[in-house]
């Protein structure tokens, strides 16, 4: 199946967000400019220009724009949403092809949309696959990516503001629609060293990784036949690379946390075939000014709490996650509980063929006080994924 092949080739796609955070790895001596397949390799010292670098980088094999966030109505009703746009380049080929501008065959675009109604626990999601062409494309000049009727664009700054805003049009079939304006509340974070985020010992295994860790959201959500005014906060990753992860990993757990004190953190645990945690796992704090500080797997712990079994895929996911870590601001040990707003937030992989869990959580401290919100991603739990990775 096509999308499956795409995902197979793009394993880090879903969990890729964290793979570029491995900033502690020593820089290799020589970085080749191309992979053996002819795709670009991230070069240290790359100077990003914006808005161009918010846009498409087709020289790289893989690229994604990954939005997750939390929405609230004035009456307190709460929602989680996901809007992700992926791009995957086809293998370079000189064989004759019939591709045209309208119907290309050099890039495929996959997109996932999801909505959680926290009041009822209802979860809706949809996948879409398109070839580069009239119905899916990403601009080379700025952030302007679309897939069918879904799009994410950089809009001109709102009046009286210097910051550009992002405009998201998304939805799930005709059951839900969201039209959201996202304004960066903190500066863009460029992860890695010297603009390059290394992933493994191989010099080609690296990416460029740009993140808005906190975006203010305002707009409308159409759900249950009713248009609702919503506000909230979101997180957006933009990453492009040409390499894959190494063998031996069966899946990963990942989380982005937005604390009410204005700081964020990101943590992930890479699960190896033998059940151990991969040494590339990491945790990063982003302070109020947007500065990043990294911690290795020995400096925090990731504890699954309970089990939720998906009736659709049969996969058994952790029902919640407890993070034990050190607060770099106070130096104190802390415990953060990532509590899903609803258990059923699994995307069934109708087209891609790989189910995974990606959902909105509330963040609780030791006293059970809600101190922030998070998005949790768990892959490789469905039986169908075993042996594929």
């Amino acid at each position: 199946m096509i999308a499956l092949s795409l995902l197979r080739a793009a394993v880090p796609l879903l969990g890729g967000i964290f793979t570029v955070l491995l900033v502690g790895v020593v820089q290799a001596v020589d970085v080749p400019r191309k992979t053996p397949e002819g795709f670009a390799v991230p070069q240290p010292g790359t100077r990003f220009t914006f808005p161009r670098d918010h846009g498409n980088h087709p020289d790289f094999a893989l690229e994604w724009w990954y939005l997750t966030g939390h929405l609230f109505e004035t009456n307190g009703a709460r929602y989680g949403f996901q809007a992700t746009f992926f791009r995957r380049a086809s293998p370079r080929s000189t064989a004759p092809s019939a591709a045209t501008q309208g119907f290309g065959d050099d890039q495929l675009y996959l997109a996932h949309m999801a909505l959680l109604d926290a009041q009822t626990g209802e979860f809706r999601h949809q996948e879409r696959l398109n070839r580069a062409g009239w119905d899916a494309e990403a601009s080379l000049q700025t952030l302007d990516v679309k897939n069918g009727n879904w799009s994410l664009r950089l809009a001109p700054p709102a009046s009286g503001s210097a910051e550009p805003t992002l405009q998201l049009e998304g939805g799930i079939r005709a059951e839900a629609a969201f039209s959201l304006t996202l304004t960066p509340a903190k500066p863009l974070v460029i992860f890695g060293t010297n603009g390059v985020s290394r992933k493994a010992a191989e010099p080609t295994a690296a990416s460029h990784y740009l993140t808005f860790t906190r975006l203010k959201v305002a707009g409308s959500l159409t759900w249950q036949g009713k248009v609702r005014e919503v506000t909230g906060e979101a997180w957006m990753d933009h990453e492009f690379s040409s390499s894959q992860l190494g063998a031996g990993q069966v899946g990963w757990d990942w989380a982005s946390v937005q604390l009410r004190d204005g700081r964020e953190l990101m943590a992930y645990r890479m699960r190896r075939q033998d059940g151990t945690t991969d040494p590339f796992s990491t945790l990063a704090w982003i302070d109020r000014q947007g500065r990043v500080q990294h911690f290795g797997p020995s400096e925090y712990s990731w504890e699954p709490r309970g089990v939720w079994k998906s009736p659709a895929s049969g996969a058994e996911y952790p029902a919640a996650i407890r993070l034990r870590l050190k607060d770099p601001e106070t130096g104190r040990e802390r415990t953060l509980d990532l509590q899903p707003l609803a258990p059923a937030q699994e995307l069934n992989g109708a087209i891609g063929g790989i189910p995974y869990w990606e959902g909105a959580c509330r963040v609780l401290d030791e006293q059970g006080q809600e101190i922030g919100q998070a998005f949790l991603e768990m892959t490789g739990y469905a039986a169908t994924m075993q042996g594929r990775l």
Binding site: M1, I2, A3, S5, L6, R8, A9, V11, T35, P36, E37, S90, P91, S93, A95, P96, S97, A98, A99, T100, G102, F103, D105, L108, Q126, E127, R128, L129, N130, R131, W134, D135, G148, N149, W150, S151, E169, G170, G171, R173, A174, E175, A177, S179, T204, G225, S243, Q244, L245, G246, A247, Q249, A350, I351, G387, R388, L389
Partner: protein
């Protein structure tokens, strides 16, 4: 017994009557009963078979995309030519974030290369080749789970990736290879099995005029709950098909699938309105006065188009199929009436026993209904078998005239089954109405004698010659009425059919009167027939024809008139076609794609190829013909681009309205003028000098009709413009055919062979071959009418035999007397044969006479009003004489046989 207890127990009495009265008689004359059921079942069978075959032909016209996408909510298709791909982006922008999927489709035709040089046109099937975006269609998997995926069919087992190696996994690379191979084609499971094709097999196909070696990538995935993809369906990735057909950047239509969610119907209405608005929103270059860029259609609209296209053809066929049933109506009437006469004694007894008349009438109607039911059930069986043959004949015609169909078997359909049974029972009850009435009127004290006095008088109507002449007059009146006009320029000649019915009925009445006068004339003193005992005996019965004779004559008149009328129509058609063919095919060689195997072919000849053909040193003139279907507001028609001067010189059109001057034939002044065919003129009610706007991809083009020519190519009509305009409007020079005139003295056969060798994807026909083929295809379309006529005549002749048997039975007392008087069995048989012959002669004579009138109605009203074709009248005398001799001989033999049987009847025997 009094009437009172009977009334209180009516059902019981009806049952008793049925058992003791009806069923017993049926059992006593099993052969007669069987013949009656057989005749009825033949009539019903023919009707049922044609209905089923028609249904199969219509059902095969479908939107193939539905098999893959599930039914879309709607679609747009251009009024002419193709839609530019840019419309996709335009519509997506116009739709904004509305959740709707756009499915662009390019649809074309293809055929397998020929196996031998001698095969005839249409012998290879036409494949429908769909170009779809094979990546995007996978999004429909959420809506509908296919039975397999598109791309992993060729993947080797165990190819799943187990490492995150940077090199693509074998499965992934297989996907990319299949997806990016511009020759990948997906075929139906049916074809794969039939031809032993599997992923990787080579499959050469003629696309346009090129033989392209396609590669089977797999089997088309379909929803397991849906019907299998038909054998003739093939699917390719859209851009690959665009490239292979030279149609890059263009699509045939765009289908729309609304995303699942509430208020689907309202959302489609909103989208439809938006699409209709957008259709008249012209980008820069086009005129604001242009006709809409596309039509919006829902699936129901589209399903209807195949039904509408062939409606006239199918209606005519259905009416023709009723012929046998109409003739059968006369027979059943006779048979039931004969039974009334035979059972008169019993009826009288029943009446004197106090059985009320209405109960007797009810018993008779019940008998008729049971007969109808029995005939209907047997007819269903016969019809279903016949339909399997008829579906091929109907399919061939539909293929040649309308669209590619592969219908090769007719499925049972409950509606048709019920309809056939209802028609059968109704026919029977209708035929039994008067006999039932006459039975009920039998007085209790009825004398039990036999002979002329007690024989059935027959419907008095059949004796009213005044009525006959009145019907003839009504017929003439009806002929002045116009046809009934339906949508899409369809015309149904209702009044003409009614006139034909009036005349047929009138002829039936007159037939009886002719029999009377003919017999009197033959029996006049001094005539050669007035001497012999046999002849006198025979004539004595028909000099004052009984109702039974009159009915037999009427049945024969009906069958002969209809059959001969059709023969006149077909003969006229044949003559006209031959004239048209010899006028139209004046050039030396005719070139088309060898993939063109049906009326709906999309196979074209690329400019490079036709230029190279036209440049052959032996070619002095080359007529390049371009053609496209265009959608006028009233319906679809054909627009042709060609050299009009060449058309005048080498196709020698017969003008119905000749252009008033030469301007349309001169390139400098031809702009804005068109020639139209008669069928077009009739259908759209436009004449010389009328103006219309032609929809084209370059916008609406106002044109004036300069002349009307006769043409028998199709009933949808066609328009011809100078090719320079056509090419400009449609933005291409793809030719549908090429007509070549060679240097005088050139060796046509060797030029043909050279062209075939240089372009194996082209079909090159000589003038004589094409003339023969055109005639063959034309005659093939009439094959089914011949079959139907033959059945009609068979029923009529069988009816005559049935009449004779009934008559002789009624006269069995007389026959005994005659035998006692010394007449031999031979002589009695001869007398019966002569009686039958006289009856037949009257029937055939009046039938033939009526056929001249019917033929005229068919040619000048039914055909002209339905198809818009003016035919030269031609009476195929040889065929008509053959028909007459056949009917007369069959009648004489049947009557003779009946006479021999009658001659040995014992004087008294029940049935």
């Amino acid at each position: 017994m009094s009437a009172a207890p009977l009334r209180s127990d009516l059902p019981g009495v009806v049952g008793l009557l049925w058992r003791r009265f009806t069923w017993r008689h049926w059992c006593l004359a099993p052969v007669q009963s069987a013949i009656l059921v057989a005749i009825l079942s033949l009539g019903v069978g023919v009707f049922f078979a044609i209905r089923l075959a028609n249904r199969a032909a219509v059902a095969s016209f479908q939107n193939f995309t539905d098999l893959i996408t599930a039914e879309s909510d709607g679609l747009i298709s251009p009024a002419a030519g193709l839609l530019p791909e840019a419309v996709l982006t335009e519509l997506r922008t116009a739709f904004g974030s509305r959740p709707v999927q756009l499915i662009p489709v390019l649809e074309t035709t293809a055929a397998r290369p020929r196996q031998s040089e001698t095969e005839v046109i249409g012998s290879r099937g036409t494949f429908q080749l769909l170009g779809l975006d094979l990546i995007a269609v996978q999004n429909l998997a959420e809506r509908r789970r296919p039975d397999r995926s598109w791309f992993d069919q060729s993947a080797a087992p165990g190819a799943s990736a187990t490492s995150r190696d940077t090199s693509p996994s074998p499965a992934a690379s297989k996907f990319w290879d299949t997806f990016r191979n511009p020759r990948s084609v997906f075929i139906s499971e049916f074809l794969a099995r039939r031809e032993g094709l599997s992923p990787g097999s080579e499959l050469p196909l003629i696309l346009n005029e090129q033989i392209v070696p396609l590669r089977v990538a797999g089997v088309i995935p379909t929803d397991p709950a849906q019907p299998q993809a038909p054998a003739e369906l093939m699917v390719m990735d859209l851009p690959a098909l665009q490239r292979l057909t030279g149609l890059t950047g263009q699509v045939s239509r765009i289908e729309f699938i609304l995303e699942d969610g509430p208020q689907r119907a309202e959302r489609w209405q909103e989208l439809r309105a938006l699409l209709e608005r957008q259709a008249t929103n012209f980008p820069g270059a086009l005129q604001a006065s242009s006709s809409p860029r596309w039509q919006v259609a829902s699936p129901a609209d589209r399903r209807e188009s195949g039904e509408v296209m062939t409606r006239a053809f199918r209606l005519n066929l259905t009416i023709l199929s009723l012929l046998a049933l109409v003739v059968g109506l006369y027979l059943i009437f006779q048979a039931l009436d004969g039974a009334v006469v035979r059972r008169r004694e019993e009826i009288a007894i029943l009446r004197s026993l106090g059985v009320p008349p209405r109960l007797i009438q009810r018993a008779w109607l019940c008998e008729a209904a049971v007969l109808g039911l029995a005939g209907g059930v047997v007819g269903l069986l016969l019809g279903w078998l016949g339909a399997q043959g008829a579906v091929r004949l109907v399919g061939r015609t539909v293929n040649a005239l309308y669209y590619a169909t592969s219908a090769d078997r007719a499925a049972l359909h409950s509606t048709e089954v019920i309809l056939a049974l209802v028609v059968s029972v109704l026919t029977s009850v209708l035929a039994g109405w008067l006999p039932a009435k006459s039975a009920a009127e039998t007085p209790p004290a009825q004398s039990l004698g036999r002979g002329h006095g007690t024989t059935f008088i027959g419907p008095r109507l059949l004796r009213r010659t005044g009525l006959a002449w009145a019907l003839v007059a009504v017929g003439f009146g009806l002929l002045t009425l116009p046809p009934w006009r339906l949508e899409a320029g369809l015309r149904i000649p209702v009044a003409a059919y009614a006139a034909a019915l009036c005349w047929t009925f009138a002829a039936g009445i007159l037939g009886g009167s002719v029999l009377k006068h003919l017999s009197r004339w033959a029996a006049r003193p001094g005539s050669p027939l007035s001497g012999g005992a046999v002849a006198r005996l025979a004539l004595s019965h028909v000099r004052e024809p009984s109702g039974r004779h009159r009915l037999a004559v009427a049945g024969l008149v009906c069958a002969v008139a209809m059959t001969a009328g059709m023969a006149i129509l077909v003969g006229s058609f044949d003559t006209t076609m031959r004239g048209w063919i010899s006028r139209t095919f004046q050039a030396d060689l005719y070139v088309s794609s060898d993939g063109a195997q049906s009326a709906s072919t999309e196979n074209r000849i690329s400019p490079a190829t036709w230029r190279s053909v036209a440049a052959h040193p032996e070619v002095t003139h080359a007529q390049v013909i371009q053609a496209a279907r265009v959608q006028l507001p009233e319906g679809e028609t054909m627009l042709v681009g060609g050299d009009l001067e060449f058309f005048r010189e080498f196709a020698q059109p017969a003008w119905l309205q000749e252009p008033v001057d030469n301007s349309i034939f001169v390139p400098a002044t031809t702009a804005g003028q068109v020639l139209v065919s008669e069928a077009f003129s009739e259908r759209f009610r436009l004449r010389r000098g009328d103006k219309l706007t032609l929809p084209t991809p370059a916008g609406g083009q106002p044109v004036t009709i300069a002349g009307v020519f006769s043409d028998y190519g199709n009933e949808r009509g066609s328009l011809i413009v100078d090719r320079a305009h056509f090419a400009r409007w449609f933005g291409n020079e793809l030719a549908s055919s090429l007509i070549l005139v060679l240097r005088p003295g050139a060796d046509i056969e060797s030029v043909r062979a050279e062209l075939r060798a240089a372009h194996p994807g082209l079909a090159v026909f000589t003038q004589s071959y094409l003339r023969g083929e055109a005639l063959r295809i034309f005659r093939q379309t009439f094959a089914i009418t011949y079959a139907l006529e033959l059945i009609g005549v068979t029923v009529a002749v069988a009816g005559l035999g049935f009449t004779m048997v009934s008559l002789l039975w009624e006269r069995r007392g007389e026959l005994t007397t005659l035998r006692a008087l010394g007449l031999t069995r031979r002589e009695l048989a001869a007398a019966a044969a002569l009686e039958g012959l006289f009856t037949a002669v009257s029937g055939v004579a009046v039938g033939l006479l009526a056929s001249v009138g019917l033929g005229w109605v068919l040619i000048h009203r039914v055909n002209q009003q339905t198809f818009g074709w003016t035919l030269e009248t031609d009476r195929p005398w040889g065929q008509l004489a053959g028909l007459a001799i056949l009917v007369l001989a069959a009648a004489a033999v049947t009557a003779w046989g009946a006479g021999r049987w009658g001659a040995q009847l014992p004087a008294e025997q029940e049935e």
